[in-house]
């Protein structure tokens, strides 16, 4: 793709991914807005119920996602230096951390569902309106975020394949770079979800 004399549109290669991320910002932004409105309306209930979240698991997941952002960033730098093997190891580490995040998420959801706290459950319907809304928002927002993590893992798996096959290399890494942008965005969403669901009590 990039030749010594040819013009390479570096900005254009990334622009599409950034535009997609802008739509994603507004997508998650809408859900943050819903959370903010209902939190301001049912401040006491949100306050009390957020304390039921497992702070330890939430914190571990935050460390995992921050570290996975670090490794995917390093993997791109490695490809730019021509170190494909190192890059593929770092991508594998990122995928494994993504899966670890999802496994912990499953444990968290499972613990709540076992307690009878899931949308429309008889137990939850007996509680106040604020708590019903909190858990509704919790499942929808963390669920959609988890879906983004899963998609990210699958896309990075493809990048890992390309990096091994050397169709991604130091002269052609736009796909990996754009995958990294997406993964960092998913990380940023979690950076905001963590205080909103685990810390603000």
């Amino acid at each position: 793709m990039s030749t010594e004399t040819g013009h390479v549109d570096h900005l254009g290669k990334k622009m599409g991914m950034w535009f997609f991320l802008f739509t994603e910002i507004l997508f998650f932004g809408g859900m943050f807005l819903l959370y903010a409105i209902f939190r301001s309306k049912y401040a006491q209930a949100f306050h009390a119920v957020a304390a039921e979240e497992n702070l330890l698991l939430g914190t571990i997941n935050t460390v995992i996602l921050l570290t996975s952002s670090f490794t995917i960033a390093l993997s791109i730098a490695a490809v730019k230096r021509g170190e494909n093997i190192l890059s593929s190891h770092l991508q594998l580490a990122t995928i494994l951390m993504g899966f670890a995040f999802l496994v912990i998420k499953v444990f968290e959801w499972n613990a709540k569902i076992t307690l009878g706290l899931y949308p429309d459950s008889p137990l939850l319907l007996k509680r106040g309106k604020g708590e019903i809304l909190f858990f509704g928002l919790y499942y929808v927002i963390t669920g959609l975020h988890g879906l983004h993590v899963l998609v990210g893992c699958i896309v990075i798996a493809f990048m890992l394949f390309f990096t091994r096959r050397k169709t991604i290399d130091r002269g052609n890494y736009a796909r990996l770079e754009n995958t990294g942008l997406y993964w960092h965005f998913v990380d940023i969403v979690w950076i905001y979800l963590y205080p909103l669901f685990y810390l603000i009590t």
Partner: protein
């Protein structure tokens, strides 16, 4: 030849490591602010401010925005402004309904 968009600029491992460590320190700070009630009734604002600093670090270094030209930065500013206006107007509507 100097390129306008320094695409081949490789951020050093040291820089990435420093950013990662700062992110972890900020994570510890946000827990302290929230759980030890360090900022009393401003703890909500405090945790969100720390989250925004973390997001800014990820954007600037991991997402390479610091090294990009004005176009992407400008577009991001437009999107964030639009989101701020959307949130602000909705709150005004809810409060004064």
């Amino acid at each position: 030849m100097k390129e306008k968009y320094s695409e081949d600029h490789v951020v050093s491992t040291g820089t990435y490591t420093a950013v990662w460590l700062v992110l972890l320190v900020l994570l510890a700070a946000t827990i302290a602010v929230a759980r030890l009630h360090l900022l009393a009734r401003f703890s909500v604002l405090g945790t969100l401010a720390i989250a925004s600093i973390k997001a800014g670090l990820v954007l600037a270094f991991f997402m390479h925005l610091k090294y990009e030209g004005g176009f992407l930065k400008g577009m991001l500013a437009v999107v964030l402004s639009a989101l701020t206006i959307l949130i602000g107007m909705t709150f005004v509507d809810v409060w004064y309904r």
